[in-house]
């Protein structure tokens, strides 16, 4: 089953209705291998059909995040991106001074993840997070 179909089936099995709008939004975020923001999703859908509302895009993206099918990452400065759980896992290191974004290896968080589950019974979405801080250049200044 393609990733798209998996998403759709997951939504259906959780009692959500499958609309053309939702299918197109899922396709947009799934086919786009990389990160994507709400505007880009909206633009991709507009290429196919013009009558989809931006509010529906936001609502569907929220739904996908809530269902754990996608993650929402706030990179600061109004940069909010989405990615499917299929997307290669990694950590975004965002410099709070220059705004630069560095990627770090996801493995660094595995011990933390296990502790959250054992100590707090909390299943953290760590496959794709952003961490604010200072990059080496800005530390020097």
């Amino acid at each position: 089953m393609s990733p798209c179909q998996t998403f759709i089936e997951t939504l259906r099995s959780h009692g959500y209705r499958i609309t053309p709008q939702r299918e197109m939004i899922v396709e947009a975020i799934a086919h786009q291998g990389n990160h994507i923001n709400a505007d880009e999703v909206f633009a991709l859908i507009q290429e196919r059909i013009h009558s989809v509302n931006i509010a529906t895009v936001y609502r569907t993206l929220d739904l996908l995040v809530e269902q754990g099918l996608a993650t929402r990452i706030d990179l600061g400065e109004g940069r909010v991106i989405y990615a499917t759980d299929q997307h290669g896992t990694h950590i975004h290191l965002v410099c709070r001074q220059c705004g630069q974004v560095l990627d770090a290896d996801q493995e660094l968080l595995s011990a933390f993840n296990q502790q959250l589950q054992s100590d707090y019974r909390f299943a953290a979405d760590l496959q794709h997070i952003s961490v604010l801080g200072l990059c080496s250049d800005c530390q020097a200044n």
Copy 2:
């Protein structure tokens, strides 16, 4: 030196001008021991003087975060809070389904923090972060 004065001096030594507005905003966030959001800061200042603009509040809070004197935490659902670096460090575990917020021990991140510094030369602001995931109740459902 009181925390307020430290903040003010830090700003001054970095070449920023000290205005009454900035002093009041720093006092608001420093005296408020706990988290505070932009609206609350604005309300606290309005009690003293009415001519301060909300845009200045946002700009000053951004400045404090950029300078590492405060942290900005996005708890989702439009809940954005600020706290000084004096504030007791901890991790917010935000459930992506029910919105509930749990606090976890900061210590869990110390190994991760050290690795970011040694492997990526990145000084992460981990004293006060939020992590999205599923709480035990919502995992059960």
